[in-house]
Amino acid sequence: MTAPTDQQLIDFVVRETRLIDQHRFEEWLDLFAEDGFYWMPLEWGQTDPRLTTSLMYEDKLLLKIRVERLKGNRTFSQKPKSRCHHVLQTPQVDSRNEAANEYVTWTPMHYVETRLDQQDLYAAWATHTLAVVDGALKIKLKRVDIVNCDAAFGNIQLFM
């Protein structure tokens, strides 16, 4: 792949959430570039992940720790396991910069996470910054802005 088509970008984002919903976390992790980040801001319109607190700002190492933990025998908050479900609007391609190898998509979504009798619904926008690495699309940054990002939440255990 040299320059991805819009449809390839859209398919990538849709498949990404599908891997989460199907608990295919190892494959999901492979979608991230080695220097990729997952960012879930705490503040409305947040611009700085470093000196402003976030709900998550994790590199691939920290994401790997999460994925490994989900498999563990002593992961008590996952006994029984959580499940999740994404409903996406069609991702919109916001920008394409072939020279810089940077493609940005914007995807409004609803995310449901369940465990035992509890079901929580979140509304969010996902912004993907993608790049072609060794012929395949990879995530440089997945930013998830929850509509009520500053509300008091209980456990959010999987990935939006």
């Binding site: 607190t53 709900l55 190492l61 720790i65 008590f76 209980g154």
Partner: protein
């Protein structure tokens, strides 16, 4: 049916020398009495004065379940007021924080109040002529909380006249606040980064007890901290250990580490873990920081300040602070089985940004609703909240390293895995709960 209200003996019977009755966690009547007594007779944390830096700045919060606000008055002092219009009860602040200018104006009928709460004006005032409104509750303005103390920027308030004064209540325990503030080369902190708010379906005291529970990290957090250590083992040889792994790894330290770190108890239910060392002792040095500290305090004093690495300091009734991390956690009671946990972070004024970066990373890795450490803690609290409904055993045990010669309201340093601090909290609970009954 009231089982506890007006029944002093029943309240006293809830706390025994080495165990407490489950009703302190699950009974709504006991919870209501805590709000009226424990949270009114003690000095509760309100906020930090950097949240109200300029005159007219306000911040709305709660003491127990009572809505209050903290405001910077025109004379630059910090006032604490009950957050309701004296007229119809409307909450006065429109946002959780902001600037109100020279006065508060109720959004319902435009009654206005100076920032010390006193009545400024009522529209169409002639309608109150000869009604005696001056002598009414409404005519006296917004009720101030009388007992307010600002300790090095940290603002505390006590709702009732009963109970000890500020110095007597905290005593030597203030040394943990001192260490946090002294870590700033300028001797000043500022609230920074934003507050993490995490809802817990459990009693507030479970969180307080957990702060000095040193026998749970290597068990409950094996899945997060243990996995972090395992994953990092695959790092290329010679790779620099990232800040995140430095933060996670010590949670897996062996029992011996926690035994040797020591616990100190103080009178009135305060205490801390990490007398000799803590999980925060071995973080990498932040470039340029020591030089600034040495310039501000002198080399020897700077070493002493940074050598004090207390782990968790609990202030009765419901906050915990971490000096080396510049973090304050507030366990806000909502109901017997519901607690809002707020985790506030601070910038050390004049210190390198990397310290705030580490503080914020710690906060989101450990204290966020998305934290893999928080997930397992909350799981334990919620299981306990459920399990306590078992009738066959109605007592929670606090016996570890109990010594019958242990006296209440004393200062002592002991083994870091003792449950003395939990016993200390419940002795204080009993004292402040019954003080005004």
């Amino acid at each position: 049916m009231a089982r506890y209200r007006g029944n002093l003996e029943a309240i006293k019977g809830l706390v025994r020398e080495t165990e407490v009755h489950r009703d302190v966690y699950i009974d709504e009547e006991v919870f209501q009495l805590e709000m009226e007594h424990v949270f009114a007779n003690t000095w509760a944390y309100v906020g930090h004065d950097s949240q109200v830096a300029k005159p007219g700045d306000y911040y709305g919060t709660t003491i127990g379940t009572q809505p209050i606000l903290m405001v910077r008055h025109t004379d630059n002092t910090v006032k604490v007021l009950h957050n309701r219009c004296p007229h119809k009860g409307t909450r006065i602040t429109t946002e959780s924080c902001g600037n109100t200018g020279k006065f508060f104006r109720c959004p319902y009928h435009a009654w206005s109040f100076k920032t010390d709460g006193s009545l400024l004006a009522i529209p169409l005032k002639k309608g109150y002529e000869n009604t005696g409104v001056e002598q009414s509750h409404a005519g006296r303005g917004m009720s101030p909380v009388k007992h307010v103390h600002n300790y090095r920027g940290f603002v505390f308030a006590k709702l009732r006249d009963v109970g000890p004064g500020f110095e007597e209540f905290f005593g030597d325990s203030l040394s943990s606040f001192d260490n946090m503030v002294d870590r700033s080369p300028a001797g000043r902190l500022e609230v920074a980064g934003g507050v993490l708010r995490y809802m817990h379906n459990c009693n507030w005291k479970m969180l307080v007890e957990n702060q000095t529970d040193t026998c749970h990290p290597m068990v409950a957090h094996e899945s997060s901290a243990g996995t972090a250590i395992e994953v990092w083992k695959n790092a290329p040889p010679g790779a620099k250990k990232p800040m995140a792994v430095e933060i996670y790894a010590p949670f897996m330290a062996p029992y011996e580490f926690f035994e040797n770190m020591g616990i100190r108890v103080w009178p009135n239910g305060h205490g801390h873990t990490g007398v000799h060392h803590s999980i925060h002792s071995d973080y990498s040095a932040v470039p340029g920081y020591f030089e600034k500290m040495a310039a501000a305090h002198g080399e020897e004093r700077a070493k002493a300040i940074l050598g004090e690495n207390r782990h968790n300091t609990v202030y009765f009734p419901n906050i915990m602070i971490k000096g080396p991390i510049q973090l304050v956690r507030v366990f806000k009671p909502i109901a017997a089985n519901k607690t809002l946990v707020e985790s506030w972070t601070f910038r050390l004024v004049d210190a390198p940004d990397m310290l705030l970066e580490r503080t914020l990373m710690y906060n989101r890795l450990i204290n966020a609703p998305t934290s893999v450490v928080g997930h397992d803690d909350l799981e334990m609290y919620e299981r306990a909240q459920e399990g306590l409904h078992v009738d066959a055993n109605q007592w929670v045990n606090l016996q570890r390293l109990y010594d019958p010669s242990e006296t209440p309201d004393t200062t002592a340093v002991t083994n870091g895995t003792t449950e003395w601090q939990m016993r200390n909290q419940f002795r204080a609970w009993s004292k402040f709960m019954t003080m005004s009954m």
